[in-house]
Symmetry: C2
Subunit: 253 residues, 2 copies
């Protein structure tokens, strides 16, 4: 929670810089070696957690706003952010309204407005990120998805919707390009899917279906070392991968 002085400064700057009534919230999923986490902010002087978010500069394309916000919170740049839903319940930011309404007259007060928020999600390697708190928060940290704290406003709904969308997306779009090493084995890729879906998959079905999508290239040489039969190495066929991102997988209707 901001002090009165901070709120005044923040509101003055926000009204001068940003479009009113519109915010962006980012659900940043972090994957690394079989673990899936989500980036959350722990508020100053409050026992509350939020998704990282921000606002849209008056002349800024919204995709750039989302990227700017992600970069400010993680140091990561040029990450594929997927817009997934606008949350537009008039009551969704009521708690902010209540928290700040008596500290500044309504016409000057940024947080007494109604905000629609545009949800974006990203999937990154959490080892690559350097989480940074914002002005409202004391901490910015990765939390396990199966050990989440209570989230403020409608951020639990936003997070759930992002996770549902990501899981659905595994059925019709490729994933993993910025998460896997250049070459990887089929079990390594399967682990990514299993972690996101939070369930075990059948090895043979996974391989057959994944190869059917036509987005993988098999390397001529198997991985070196080890006494057993060396596993095949795969890499993404970037041309087909990109096409599938926009058109969906082959093997649809």
């Amino acid at each position: 929670m901001l002090t009165e002085k901070e709120l005044k400064e923040y509101s003055d700057n926000a009204r001068a810089s940003y479009l009113p009534h519109i915010s962006i919230d980012c659900v940043v999923f972090g994957f690394h070696e079989g673990m899936l986490k989500v980036l959350l902010l722990h508020m100053k002087n409050e026992n509350g957690w939020y998704l990282p978010g921000g606002f849209v500069l008056k002349d800024e394309p919204i995709e750039l706003s989302a990227n700017r916000i992600l970069k400010e919170r993680t140091g990561l740049d040029e990450i594929f952010l997927q817009q997934f839903h606008v949350f537009g319940d008039p009551q969704r930011s009521k708690d902010h309204f209540e928290m700040y309404k008596d500290m500044l007259p309504r016409a000057e007060n940024w947080f007494t407005d109604r905000f629609l928020t545009i949800g974006y999600y990203a999937l990154v390697d959490f080892c690559d990120a350097i989480p940074q708190p914002d002005i409202f928060s004391a901490d910015c940290i990765w939390r396990d998805l199966d050990d989440l704290p209570e989230l403020k406003l409608d951020h639990a709904l936003i997070l759930k919707t992002a996770l549902d969308t990501l899981r659905l997306q595994l059925n019709y779009q490729p994933i993993g390009y910025n998460l896997m090493p250049k070459e990887f084995t089929m079990p390594e890729l399967q682990k990514l899917y299993e972690t996101i879906l939070d369930k075990k998959l059948d090895r043979r079905n996974f391989q057959r279906r994944m190869l059917g999508f036509g987005i993988l290239k098999r390397s001529e040489k198997p991985r070196k070392g080890g006494a057993h039969k060396a596993p095949y190495l795969y890499s993404f066929d970037l041309e087909n991968y990109q096409a599938a991102l926009t058109e969906g997988f082959k093997g649809g209707w």
Copy 2:
């Protein structure tokens, strides 16, 4: 295009009633007996076509705004509208800006603001709709998808994105409940998919895959009449249909 007097009245009312900077555009696909069309507005005193759209009342949930706009243009109520994307290029409504900027001072002029627009699409039986023009338009009519006029602003992009989303959605979500009769044959359902995808599908693959989704119930009695073998009749299993709408089809990962 509005006259100066109309613009003044419209702007005064809009500023009092709606959230600034936010609009809604609806891509209404109409299907009937193997034909797919889209609902477009032909502007007064201009050779331009637009998608039906509108704004969000200050205290209105955005889903209700979309439904209100659809009802005003088609008379149809309680139609499933799918939110699919926010279009947020700062230049997207530049033509409106240019058209109206000299007619009213900027602070009073609704159309000199930048607007983000939230896209919704719906799929309806076009025989059920009664298209109604709005204040900006002389006509509101169904146009064939393969004979589209030039669309104003970024409405061609919005329409293309909606169609891409609808086609992708056929791979992971059910469709057709408000389009098919209570009982229908497999070829009748296949025709809906073929029309949306604009291509022929293999009869046996279609049947196998569709039955695999688990959203159809087969009637005990085949359709009556006709000299040949009577085709089986199907209806949607509404419980599974609803579940698949939120969770995607079984048969994913």
